[in-house]
């Protein structure tokens, strides 16, 4: 077991790279893994202490079928092709992926027109097997659905995934294939000299031929570092409510309402982990760090769940609420193109919905742009597409459990009782880069269950402290400012 965190070097003065990617969200991570197929020196930079903590983290986790956007936009074009490669990608990365299908439910006969439009989009975009369900079909597929529902538009290729689980897996695999990951590193400026772009970062200078701007909400600010702001990114809020898996089965399909011009609407989604969530709202805001939920927003999404499934006492099952921000570019489409100002800088910005679905297609588009711009690609003969997930006690067969515990007795010590997570899994998460409570949570689900960390928080803090050799009172929720402990009760100057 290594002594230092697995993600990144805390300080470097000068380094060189062929490609530097700014932002380790699902877009930056997918591009990093794609680049690791070739003999290249790639560096992935993120300002947070962990990967995927921007727009990626708070996301609906849907791999869309690809019918909901205008087929003439990048958002429309890249969605279905992205969907097609996910099965294989998830097999390679051992990321849970469930192709459960989605249904857009219309509540009145007038909306049938919108459903027909969606079917038309589906045809143009090459989305397979979609069809319109009549009332009887709809209610036999989703028995708990409100009797007010009249039609449904069914797309069997829609799927669910954990967006942060995927991103962690992508980064782990990219790292294993030679990509350097630099966390807690903020890019302060870009400078072009004759040979290269020089990134001035809080961890030192990086000399690189190409820079991928995958900075999510901050992509416009990165673009401004090229001399001129080429576009604006506006945050759009999405609030969610999360339910306990004790609800039992409500639907095995993703349930959409009929879309509006600003959003695909609120979704009721069976998360890949087995519980349900409802959201998001769509509200434009100014503050790129405003992850607050509101009384109004939460009421709206809860009403949606209650309206569509009137028999379910949802209030009783709420375990948490959260908010995500989607980066919306001026023209409301993805911006994937070389910078007008600085040669070698490529923008991958405004990646709002369906960005998660489109990520693999976006990455191949970026690869084409890089080649076009003169990047030479030689296959990396050592590239290994396989990444192994942390083996879990929960959900594994008796024999597997037995084997895991035999090999490592810490697999027999369950530290998170709600999600049945063992000490061995937590230690492995730390070895792979978790340094905070949230880092452990997103890798193992410790603290995501019904007690929301009430029981396991002191335990996880203890393991983090022991494994990382840092005092207990320095363990944080997600970074330096989010401290958990003020001081020791006894034996401290403050008392």
């Amino acid at each position: 077991m290594s002594d230092s965190p697995a993600l990144g070097t805390p300080f470097l003065k000068e380094s060189r790279a062929d490609v530097a990617i700014i932002g380790s969200g699902v877009i930056g991570a997918t591009i990093a893994r794609e680049l690791s197929r070739y003999k290249l020196n790639t560096i992935l930079i993120d300002k947070e202490v962990d990967v995927g903590w921007g727009a990626t983290k708070a996301n609906t986790g849907i791999i869309h079928a690809g019918y909901s956007e205008d087929p003439h936009t990048l958002r429309g074009k890249l969605c279905a092709p992205g969907n097609r490669v996910y099965q294989q990608l998830c097999e390679e990365l051992e990321v849970p992926f469930k192709r459960i299908g989605s249904i857009v439910v219309s509540l009145n006969k007038e909306e049938i027109q919108t459903l027909c439009e969606l079917e038309n989009h589906a045809k143009i975009c090459g989305v397979p097997e979609t069809r319109i369900l009549n009332r009887d079909e709809l209610h036999s597929v989703i028995p708990h659905l409100t009797p007010k529902a009249v039609y449904g538009f069914y797309a069997p290729t829609a799927a669910t995934i954990s967006p942060y689980g995927l991103t962690i897996a992508l980064v782990e695999n990219a790292q294993a294939n030679g990509v350097n990951v630099l966390i807690q590193t903020k890019v302060l400026g870009l400078k072009k000299n004759r040979q290269a772009i020089i990134l001035n970062t809080t961890s030192g200078y990086v000399h690189t031929n190409f820079v991928i701007n995958a900075a999510g909400l901050w992509a416009d600010e990165i673009s401004a570092m090229s001399g001129e702001k080429e576009f604006n990114i506006h945050p759009r809020k999405g609030e969610y409510i999360l339910f306990d898996d004790a609800t039992g089965e409500i639907t095995d399909k993703i349930i959409f309402s009929v879309p509006t011009p600003v959003s695909k609407g609120i979704v009721f989604v069976p998360f890949v982990e087995g519980n349900y969530a409802v959201g998001p709202t769509a509200e434009d805001t100014e503050d790129k760090e405003d992850l607050s939920t509101s009384f109004k927003g939460l009421k709206k999404v809860l009403n949606f769940a209650e309206y569509f499934f009137p028999e379910i006492p949802f209030k009783r099952y709420i375990i948490n609420n959260f908010c995500g921000l989607r980066p919306i570019a001026d023209e409301n489409d993805f911006i994937i193109r070389p910078s007008y100002n600085m040669k070698g800088l490529i923008h991958v910005a405004g990646i709002q919905s369906p960005g998660l679905t489109a990520a693999p297609a976006i990455a191949s588009m970026v690869m084409d742009i890089l080649m076009d711009q003169g990047l030479k690609l030689t296959l990396n003969p050592y590239f290994n597409p396989i990444r192994r997930a942390i083996p879990q006690i929960k959900g594994s067969e008796y024999k597997t459990k037995e084997k895991l515990i035999k090999a490592n007795s810490k697999y027999g010590h369950i530290v998170c009782r709600c999600e049945t997570v063992s000490e061995a899994e937590v230690i492995e998460a730390i070895r792979r880069g978790a340094t905070t409570l949230d880092g452990v949570k997103f890798r193992t689900r410790c603290g995501m269950g019904r007690c929301q960390g009430g029981f396991c928080t002191p335990r996880i803090m203890e393991i983090l402290s022991r494994e990382l050799h840092i005092p207990l009172e320095e363990i944080s929720k997600r970074n330096k400012g989010s401290w958990l402990i003020k001081n020791k009760v006894l034996g401290s100057d403050n008392v």
Partner: protein
């Protein structure tokens, strides 16, 4: 493959009470499975006094109370496995458990006593909007951090909920140098015991703000403050009543939920009002060889009651193993102003001993009579000057009343006013 006569899931006060009683009744192999690293449950973090007043007629701290039972259990030959989690219960008698020294264990048992206790309700359960900074803890987690880990979670604190743990933590935090700015309670009356309201809040001049709740949470990294607002009778926030309180810590003491995830998998019937199994006076669930006791059946006020429930469960398991079956069942119905009651049914045995009912009302009332009615006729009643949801009412009924009740299939418990 392990074998046992009784497997007790959970080694807190309920499980310990059950284990000791089971040994005293001569049951041979009694095994406690405990998920934590020591027996005693939550008692070890409850370093305040007030435990054992009923059971021992002494004023003990939590650890003292626990230690008495742990020592007794050891003396009696109770076996226990620590750091052990039960993964499954199959066919009502096969338990699959795991720990790091034994690995996976299959345990065959004649009877099972569920004693898993309860957990705290979280911020999510009450769906408070706002940001998600560090610094929001349930009161019990904060209690553990301070009393067992020697770590102070913050310096400037607002407590939401006036439950007992919240009140006790207000005093504890004050003692260790934190400033408790307010205890905010949504209801128009406190949720904790009166003695705790006086000794933990009033004595330290900590404002207890009734009919208010936390309406928003602020802070991007660590909590920087909360707003509180007045709640009207329908539970809505009164407009313009909101007030900002800067603080770095929010403790939640907003209720406890019996932990019945394991119980649900066995298929026993649960009561929607207690959130616990449906039991008879021997804490027998709807599956005859599975018993349940302590906070897993309903949240009790006093640990003394929890111990007693554990002992009853052991007696029940003993009767079951002796082959003594009950002939008839009388259901206990909830009438006017009864929120919950345990046991929910009486089973009639040839030899009957007095039965204790533990109940809570829905709302406070003064000068009332707690009565048991058979076909509209009163068969038992007890006068009470005041009843509050926070204070459990204990009714002990005699053999004679049980016999009267047994003439029918159900009796109703309700609260009525009385005239002097």
């Amino acid at each position: 493959m392990y074998k046992a006569n009784v497997v007790i899931i959970g080694g807190g006060p309920a499980g310990l009470g059950a284990a000791c009683k089971a040994k005293e009744l001569g049951i041979e192999k009694v095994l406690i499975l405990e998920r934590d690293r020591e027996l005693g449950g939550i008692l070890f973090q409850c370093i305040h006094n007030g435990f054992g007043l009923q059971y021992f007629n002494e004023d003990l701290t939590g650890p003292e109370y626990a230690t008495r039972f742990i020592q007794k259990a050891q003396k009696l030959g109770v076996e226990s496995k620590l750091n052990t989690i039960v993964l499954e219960i199959n066919n009502n008698k096969k338990i699959l458990a795991v720990n790091s020294s034994d690995g996976l264990m299959e345990i065959n048992t004649e009877t099972i006593i569920l004693a898993m206790g309860c957990r705290e309700r979280t911020r999510g359960a009450i769906n408070i909007p706002g940001t998600r900074p560090a610094g929001i803890f349930t009161a019990g987690t904060a209690q553990r951090l301070i009393n067992m880990e020697n770590l102070l979670p913050g310096k400037s604190v607002v407590i939401l909920g006036s439950g007992d743990i919240g009140l006790i933590m207000a005093r504890r935090l004050t003692w260790v140098g934190a400033k408790v700015k307010a205890i905010v309670e949504m209801l128009p009356y406190p949720s904790g015991l009166t003695r705790n309201v006086v000794q933990c809040a009033e004595d330290y001049d900590i404002p207890l703000i009734l009919s208010h709740t936390v309406t928003n949470i602020y802070g991007k990294k660590r909590l920087t403050g909360v707003t509180i607002g007045k709640v009207d009778e329908e539970g809505n926030i009164v407009r313009k009543s909101e007030k900002y309180i800067p603080c770095d810590t929010l403790l939640l003491s907003v209720g406890l939920i019996p932990e019945n995830e394991l119980s649900k998998n066995t298929g026993i019937k649960l009561d929607a009002d207690t959130n616990g199994p449906f039991v008879n006076q021997y804490m027998q669930t709807t599956i005859p060889n599975i018993f349940a006791c302590g906070n897993v059946t309903q949240v009790y006020d006093l640990v003394d009651y929890v111990t007693e429930a554990g002992e009853l469960a052991a007696e029940g398991a003993h009767l079951y193993m002796k082959g003594l079956t009950n002939s008839k069942t009388v259901l206990i119905k909830k009438g006017r102003n009864i929120r919950q009651i345990v046991p929910q049914r009486i089973s009639l045995y040839e030899r009957q001993k007095p039965i204790r009912f533990y109940l809570r009302v829905q709302y406070p009332e003064e000068k009332v009579k707690v009565g048991i009615y058979k076909e509209g006729k009163e068969i038992f009643s007890k006068k009470q000057l005041i009843v509050r949801p926070s204070e459990m009412i204990v009714l002990e009924i005699s053999d004679e009343v049980i016999r009267k009740a047994s003439e029918t299939n159900e009796v109703t418990v309700k609260i009525n006013g009385y005239r002097n």
